[in-house]
């Protein structure tokens, strides 16, 4: 296919991915709320940006993020050094989470809840240290999650056993955690995995499962993200109990 045509096709794919949001927002604005669309030209440029961005992202995914994740998985597997692989897993989980903007927002929100609920002193300083502590807690828990997940891939354990243990952990913590923290804890599981972490971690898991004998990339390769969304809930509730 000639390159120009390929670019058009890719842009068209992105536009199609975006179409549902445009339709939903236009419908509610025009038909339900019955208001005109403000800043029409700005919105059009914005949508154009989103389409271009999604297209570039998917290109970069296949050229950069997937190959590097897989290459590293193969190198670790052929080197056979479990210790360094697990160190890498922890660093990847911790490092990608600590800087995650969505997590920073949630941590600040949580500090506000804690201060309003009287769990911590209602001043700037204690709220900031609470939010900071929460961020480190979540980042450590994601690091641990990726370590457990990588270990599972190597051992080939069925994922559901570990998930059941995780669910039981969440339920037990829910019983003991202060009521104010539960909503935030449950939400924190969903916000930890960013757009760059997901492809990297997925490629790492699939790469490991394909390079270790006896593992099936489909059965064993996925599941790292699942752990990364489960452990923060347990750890954040633990944080709420201790602080």
């Amino acid at each position: 296919m000639n390159p120009l045509k390929a670019i058009w096709a890719a842009l068209f794919d992105s536009l199609r991915d975006l179409l549902p949001i445009i339709v939903v927002i236009a419908f509610f604005q025009l038909a339900v709320l019955q208001q005109p669309i403000p800043n029409f030209s700005e919105i059009t440029v914005g949508i154009l940006f989103v389409v271009i961005g999604l297209t570039l992202f998917v290109q970069g995914l296949n050229m950069g993020l997937f190959p590097i994740g897989e290459t590293m998985a193969y190198s670790f597997a052929s080197k056979g050094n479990l210790f360094w692989l697990l160190c890498f897993a922890f660093a990847l989980g911790f490092g990608t989470t600590i800087a995650e903007p969505a997590l920073i927002a949630v941590a600040e929100e949580a500090a506000l809840v804690a201060a309003t609920g009287g769990m911590i002193a209602n001043n700037e300083q204690s709220m900031e240290s609470y939010a900071q502590g929460l961020r480190y807690t979540v980042a450590i828990s994601v690091g641990i999650a990726i370590v457990i997940g990588v270990f599972r891939i190597i051992k080939g354990w069925p994922i559901q056993y570990l998930i059941v243990i995780g669910y039981i952990g969440v339920v037990i913590m829910t019983v003991f955690a202060p009521a104010e923290i539960i909503g935030i804890a449950y939400d924190s599981g969903g916000v930890t995995t960013s757009t760059i972490t997901v492809p990297l971690v997925t490629a790492l898991g699939v790469g490991l499962a394909s390079s270790i004998k006896g593992r099936n990339p489909m059965v064993d390769g996925f599941g790292l993200i699942a752990f990364a969304s489960l452990t923060p809930m347990i750890f954040v509730m633990g944080y709420g109990m201790l602080v």
Binding site: D17, I21, V24, I25, Q29, L33, I37, E42, I43, V45, G46, I47, L48, F49, V50, I52, G53, L54, L56, F57, V58, Q59, G60, L61, M63, G64, L65, I68, M72, F76, A91, L92, G95, T96, P101, E109, V113, I159, I163, V171, T174, G183, Y186, D187, G189, G190, S194, T195, I196, T197, V198, T202, V206, P217, M218, F222, G223, A226, A228, S229
Partner: protein, 265 residues
């Protein structure tokens, strides 16, 4: 209009800043521990640059076009004067909020389809399963899960029932489904819970939750506004497991089975 391009530069710089720890970890391990040359290094670096530029454009576009309108919409739809009209808000019952449910469902579905991390996982799953798992099939299954999850989460905020009832019953349901689901799909289904809620979904859904908790009498936005993300992470697991069971059942009626096709690979 010009400011969009100026903002774009800032957003790209922010993205580079966010990605720095990841890049440091990857290249640190690559050069210090693995000590192996990376094949196609140039291509990989180009890929990283494309990802950064892409995310910059994507985020700036969302912030310029869709987020302000979507957030405003979430607040307007949950505004007492819209929902109750001239009536008293306290007299409203949960079914009076029908537009909010519809919006929650529609926006949950639509934002999930546009979510880049889900697209990444869908592309990978398609490659690994040699095409047995279609990118669209998976994404639509996940999007339906998120849509139902957020609509139910909105119902919870309106009725004020405890969050953990829903989440714990959801867990039990997922575990029962796991017993009957094809083995191939289980890990992917669990993963799809975590990838649904990132760049696109979280800001819009958070606005919906906070707006609603501010409107419904007796709800505290700080306490009751949370929980929608948790719903949006739990329900896709169910819908993907359900989708897999459905397609397995359909395939069993034909002769070719999806699982067989994968194991032959």
């Amino acid at each position: 209009m010009m400011h969009l391009f100026v903002d774009l530069v800032y957003v790209i710089i922010d993205t580079v800043w966010d990605v720095l720890p990841i890049v440091t970890i990857i290249f640190g391990f690559q050069f210090l521990i693995l000590r192996k040359p990376i094949p196609n290094l140039k291509r990989i670096i180009t890929g990283f640059v494309l990802v950064l530029l892409g995310l910059g454009f994507f985020l700036e576009g969302l912030q310029a076009a869709l987020f302000p309108l979507g957030r405003l919409m979430a607040y307007q739809l949950t505004d007492p004067s819209f929902i109750a009209g001239s009536d008293n808000v306290a007299a409203l019952r949960w079914w009076n909020y029908y537009w909010v449910y519809l919006f929650a469902f529609a926006i949950g579905f639509a934002t999930t389809i546009a979510e880049p991390s889900l697209l990444a996982v869908a592309i990978k799953a398609n490659q690994v399963s040699a095409g047995a798992i279609g990118t669209w099939g998976l994404r639509i299954a996940v999007a339906i899960g998120v849509a139902i999850g957020i609509a139910l989460g909105v119902f919870r905020i309106i009725t004020g029932t405890p969050l953990y009832w829903y989440i714990i019953s959801g867990y039990v349901f997922v575990l029962v489904q796991t017993l009957f689901a094809p083995r191939m799909i289980i890990a992917l289904a669990y993963d799809s819970g975590g990838v649904t809620t990132s760049t696109v979904t979280v800001p819009l859904v958070a606005a919906l939750g906070l707006g609603l908790a501010g409107t419904v009498p007796g709800r505290n936005p700080l306490l009751d506004g949370f929980g929608l993300i948790a719903f949006a992470s739990l329900f896709p697991i169910m819908s993907v497991l359900g989708y897999a069971q459905l397609s397995e059942w359909k395939n069993r009626r034909n002769t070719q089975s999806v699982t067989k096709e994968i194991s032959r690979e």
